[in-house]
């Protein structure tokens, strides 16, 4: 009897609190899928952390095709979700089209860009991927025995070139005579989900002498990391910490704190400020991953050199060229 009462009481409290909580936030995952162990999973982790801390609930949608984007945004906005957080550059145009119709709903585009002057209810969050990539590029060059390192991008878009360009600059900084082999998986969104091609690119790059390969390719990266582990060379993960996927065989991961961006947006809720944010090394929006899985791979000297460079970037003494600023790269040709 008492148990039933407690349960009923708990249920009632729960119902009350959920009714009192203002609009639920929502997150839309991009084509790579919610559990890509990388970019979108980081977004999910941020949302989950918020839910665990506040006890709140959130809505989520996973994109299956390009055509769904606008519909998904409208559906969530209609349902009263606020803010609506989206991941992936592909969401910017649909948001720009939808946002004026829902002036009271806040939209967030992570990795995208929507002009806040014309759409005051849209927050654009960008990351300084080139800075994080620069750091893992230095690590790659220092860990390489052959003097050749690789980069495998997903879809060939300026954002991924930004990763590759920062990486190449880092490699050159640590080892000026090193060679960087650059490949892109494809030119369509299918390039985010082709682990077979990722694995073959890895083997092809190993054939060209590469012994450390950085994968910035979403789900395709799973194939890169797997093939690198099979072939006995090192790989570098991206976005989330992927060191645990193949312990001792993943040199490090370029962290892009999408989780922090989602968490902060959810936390701000409807009062979200929409001044564009650029999360860089200084604000710990990007970085490289260190944990038990890769501790043996990174020597204290390597860590010291990278941390010194990180300090210089933070202080502004060292500027890493951003590919997207002028579509050129001083250290690599695409």
């Amino acid at each position: 009897m008492t148990l039933t009462q407690t349960l009923l009481g708990a249920a009632a409290t729960l119902a009350l609190t959920s009714a009192m909580v203002s609009a639920e936030p929502a997150v839309i995952y991009d084509l790579g899928g919610k559990f890509d162990k990388s970019f979108n999973e980081a977004a999910y982790n941020g949302a989950k952390k918020w839910a665990e801390e506040t006890g709140g609930t959130f809505k989520e949608l996973e994109m299956q095709s390009e055509a769904q984007r606008e519909q998904a945004l409208r559906q969530l906005a209609e349902s009263g979700a606020n803010p609506v957080v989206t991941t992936g550059f592909g969401m910017s145009d649909p948001i720009a089209a939808v946002a004026p119709d829902y002036p009271d709903t806040k939209f967030v585009t992570i990795d995208g860009w929507v002009d806040p002057a014309t759409n005051p209810n849209v927050l654009s969050i960008g990351f300084a991927e080139h800075e994080g990539s620069y750091l893992v590029g230095m690590l790659a060059a220092m860990a390489s025995k052959t003097g050749t390192v690789g980069f495998i991008g997903g879809m060939d878009i300026p954002l991924i070139r930004k990763f590759g360009c920062g990486y190449a600059q880092g490699v050159m900084a640590a080892k000026p005579d090193a060679k960087v082999v650059l490949n892109m998986t494809g030119t369509t969104p299918a390039a985010w989900n082709d682990p077979v091609k990722g694995a073959e690119l890895t083997k092809a790059q190993k054939g060209q002498g590469a012994d450390v390969i950085f994968a910035a390719a979403g789900g395709t990266g799973i194939g890169v990391l797997q093939a690198a582990a099979d072939e006995g060379i090192l790989s570098i993960g991206v976005d989330s910490n992927q060191n645990h996927l193949h312990p001792g065989k993943v040199l490090t991961s370029m962290l892009k704190r999408v989780d922090v961006a989602v968490y902060n947006s959810f936390k701000a809720g409807e009062a979200l400020e929409t001044a564009p944010q650029a999360l860089d090394l200084k604000s710990e929006g990007v970085g490289y991953a260190m944990d038990d899985n890769n501790a043996a791979l990174i020597t204290p000297e390597m860590k010291a050199a990278v941390d010194a460079a990180a300090e210089k970037i933070k202080s502004g003494e060292l500027v890493v060229h951003d590919y997207m600023s002028d579509n050129t790269c001083p250290a690599a040709t695409f």
């Binding site: 899928g33 299918a190 682990p195 077979v196 073959e200 054939g207």
Partner: protein, 321 residues
Amino acid sequence: MDYATLLQMLDTTLRLATPLLFACLAGLYSERAGVFDIGLEGKMLMAAMCAGSVAYLTGSVWLGMLAAIGGSLIFALAHGLASITFRGNQLISGVALNFVASGITVLVALALFDQGGRTPPLEGGARMAEITLPLAETLRGVPVLGPFYADVVSGHPILVYVGLLMVPATWWLLFRTRFGLRLRAVGENPASVDTAGVSVKRLRFAAVLIAGVLCGLAGAYMATGLQAGFGREMTAGRGYIALAALIFAKWRPWHALWACLLFGFFQSLALRPDVLANIGLKIPVPALDALPYVLTVIVLAGLVGKAIPPRAGGEPYVKER
């Protein structure tokens, strides 16, 4: 380009051509019997998911392979039921199966493992081991041919060799046995086969089921040989490239082998832009990716010989119309 690089590329070619070859031969059986099969992609995808899941759950790559064949056979049966028994449109049935596969594979994998439609990475006995052929290391010293044997021919999962053996087996079955003669006849003129007292439906079902088994092997190879697990949409259009290869090969087994190897070579070339750059050619990678389709259009347009599909292809057989 040095010899070692060429060997690496040929090695990649063979690896990438194998799923194409299985799917292409599958299409060959089906279309030679007069049943168009757009659903190669879907069957491979289904097979890959079954292989990845069962291999992970049981730890045995062979049980995974059986599951792959089973999964693919279910799709083949559905295709046969729709297009042979109920005389539906074969193209629409195939397209529908592709859509079903695309959705159901992710759904099942999600329900089983909760990893976003991916199966967990496979290890040890759940992956297809690479086989070193006899004498590979001993013969390595032989100039030119030794490294070719050791690096390109040897060192693949067993399904690669099975795929290669399927080519002469298919040729023999189709062109040297009574079953093959009837199967081809059913694709050209089913009425004559019927007149001879042989069941058209049974022959077509046999062809469609053989296609199912072959697609199952293709999927198993992709999920447990090429990769260590299934990922959503991991076939990435290979079923369609196989169809292109089938047309390019003009529905003949040996030509299918050459077509798949050629298309596999284009894929491996697309992985090595540096090789082309070294010999002074600057071809964008997407252009290389499109080459199989471009070649197929050229063949279809009749510029290189004539591609004549089986005459009764695409038409359900109706007795006494």
